[in-house]
C-alpha cells in the first residue's frame, strides 16, 4: 500500500488507469441502463415508473458512500497529513454532490405519480437534503481560501463533523414514521 501512497507514483498510475476505468464505467452504465430501461418488465403496481427506482436507489447509495469515502479520506489527511488523501477527498466531493442531487431529483420525479407530491418534509428526504448542503458547504469552504492547503484542512474538518448525518440518513426510516419506505432490498423476511 505504502508504495502507491507516494504522490508521484500515484499520479502516474492514476493517469495510466483512468482511460480504462472510464471505459469500464461507461460499459457498465450502458449495460445497467439497458437492463433497467428495456429488458425488464414494468412493475405490477407502479407500472413503468418503477424504472426510476433503478436510478434512484443506486444514486442514493452512492451519495452516502461518497460521503463516507470523503470523510475517511479527510480524516486520514488530518491524521497523516497526506496529500493523496486530500486529493481523494477533493475529487470525491463533486461526484457525491452529483449523486445526491440525482437521488433527490429522481425521487421527486417518482414521488409525483406515486405519492401525489413532488416533495414531503419527512426525515429521510430532509436528511438527504442536509447531505446535499453539506457537500456544497464542503466544496465552497475548500475554494474560499487563497492557500489551497488551508482550504483542504478546513474542509477536511467539516467533512469529519458532517459524517454524523450519515447514520441519521440510514436509520431515519426506522426511527421516524416516514412516507419514504424503509430499506427493502436487504430485508430477509
Amino acid at each position: 500500500m505504502h508504495r502507491f501512497a507516494n504522490p508521484t507514483r500515484f499520479v502516474r498510475l492514476a493517469g495510466r488507469v483512468q482511460p480504462w476505468a472510464a471505459a469500464v464505467a461507461l460499459g457498465c452504465l450502458g449495460v445497467g441502463l439497458y437492463f433497467a430501461l428495456f429488458s425488464s418488465p414494468p412493475d405490477y403496481q407502479q407500472g413503468e415508473t418503477v424504472r426510476i427506482m433503478y436510478v434512484h436507489v443506486p444514486a442514493a447509495w452512492m451519495a452516502m458512500f461518497c460521503y463516507v469515502v470523503m470523510a475517511a479520506a479527510s480524516a486520514s489527511s488530518l491524521i497523516w497529513r497526506h496529500r493523496v488523501a486530500d486529493l481523494a477527498a477533493k475529487a470525491t466531493a463533486p461526484v457525491g454532490a452529483a449523486f445526491t442531487l440525482l437521488a433527490l431529483v429522481t425521487g421527486s420525479l417518482w414521488g409525483k405519480p406515486m405519492w401525489g407530491t413532488w416533495w414531503v418534509w419527512d426525515a429521510r428526504l430532509t436528511s438527504v437534503l442536509i447531505l446535499f448542503f453539506l457537500y456544497l458547504g464542503y466544496i465552497a469552504l475548500q475554494n474560499a481560501f487563497e492557500d489551497p492547503a488551508r482550504g483542504a484542512r478546513a474542509a477536511a474538518i467539516l467533512a469529519v463533523v458532517g459524517v454524523i448525518n450519515v447514520p441519521i440518513i440510514k436509520f431515519s426510516v426506522d426511527w421516524w414514521n416516514t412516507l419514504h419506505q424503509p430499506a427493502s432490498l436487504t430485508r430477509m423476511d
Partner: protein
C-alpha cells in the same frame, strides 16, 4: 478549570466593554420576528400556529449572525495565536468562548422570546415549553457554531460561507425545538422532544470542543 474561568471572564469583560453587541443581536431577533406578521398577515390563528417556528428560526439566524464575534477580533489582532500557545488546552478555551457566546447572545434571546411569544399570540403553555426548548437548544447552537466560525477564519466572504456550513448542522436542533412547542400546543406529551434536545446538547458539548479546537489550530497554523 482555572483556564476556563479566566477565558470566560475575559470574553465577558470584552463583550461588556464593547457593549451594544448583545443588544444588536436582540434587536435583529425582534425585528425578524416582527417582519412575519407583516409578511404572512396578522390573523391570530395563523400566528399562534407558526409562532414557535418563527421565533426558533429567528433565534437561529440571530445566533448565526453573531458567530463571527467568537474568534474574528482575536484572529485579527493575533491574540488567538497566543491562546493556541497557552498552557490551557485549546479545547477548554474554545468551550469557554462558546459559553461566553451563549451568555451574551443566547441568554438575551431567551429573555426576549416570551414577549415575542405574546406578540405572536402563543398560549402560556406553549411559551413555557418554548423557553425550555430554547434554554436547551441555544447552547448547542453556540457550541456547533464555534466549529463553523473557526473554519471560516480568514476565508473570502466568510460571513456568507458560515451560513452554508452551520445552518445544515442547526437543522436537527430546530426540528426538535419547534417539535416540543407544537406538541405542547396540541396538548400532547412534549418530554421526548425536550429530552432529544438535551441529548443533542450533551453530544455537542462533548464533541464540538474537539472539532472547534482542531479548526482553530488549522486557522492559525
Amino acid at each position: 478549570m482555572r483556564g476556563f474561568t479566566h477565558t470566560l471572564r475575559r470574553e465577558l469583560r470584552l463583550a461588556l466593554r464593547q457593549g451594544g453587541d448583545s443588544l444588536l443581536v436582540v434587536m435583529f431577533f425582534v425585528l425578524v420576528v416582527v417582519l412575519f406578521p407583516l409578511g404572512v398577515g396578522p390573523e391570530p390563528g395563523i400566528l399562534s400556529r407558526i409562532g414557535a417556528g418563527i421565533i426558533w428560526v429567528s433565534a437561529l439566524l440571530a445566533a448565526m449572525l453573531s458567530m463571527d464575534r467568537l474568534y474574528q477580533s482575536d484572529f485579527e489582532d493575533g491574540s488567538l495565536e497566543l491562546l493556541v500557545l497557552s498552557p490551557t488546552p485549546l479545547e477548554i478555551i474554545v468551550l469557554a468562548k462558546a459559553a461566553a457566546h451563549w451568555l451574551t447572545t443566547g441568554l438575551p434571546l431567551i429573555a426576549a422570546s416570551p414577549l415575542l411569544g405574546l406578540l405572536l399570540n402563543l398560549e402560556a403553555e406553549g411559551i413555557a415549553v418554548m423557553l425550555a426548548s430554547l434554554a436547551l437548544g441555544t447552547p448547542a447552537l453556540s457550541l456547533v457554531g464555534a466549529i463553523g466560525a473557526a473554519l471560516v477564519l480568514g476565508a473570502r466572504r466568510g460571513g456568507v460561507l458560515i451560513s452554508l456550513l452551520i445552518l445544515p448542522l442547526f437543522i436537527p436542533i430546530l426540528i426538535f425545538g419547534v417539535g416540543a412547542v407544537d406538541a405542547a400546543l396540541l396538548e400532547l406529551t412534549y418530554r421526548p422532544q425536550l429530552m432529544v434536545l438535551g441529548a443533542l446538547l450533551l453530544l455537542a458539548a462533548a464533541l464540538s470542543p474537539w472539532a472547534a479546537a482542531a479548526a482553530v489550530r488549522q486557522a492559525v497554523a
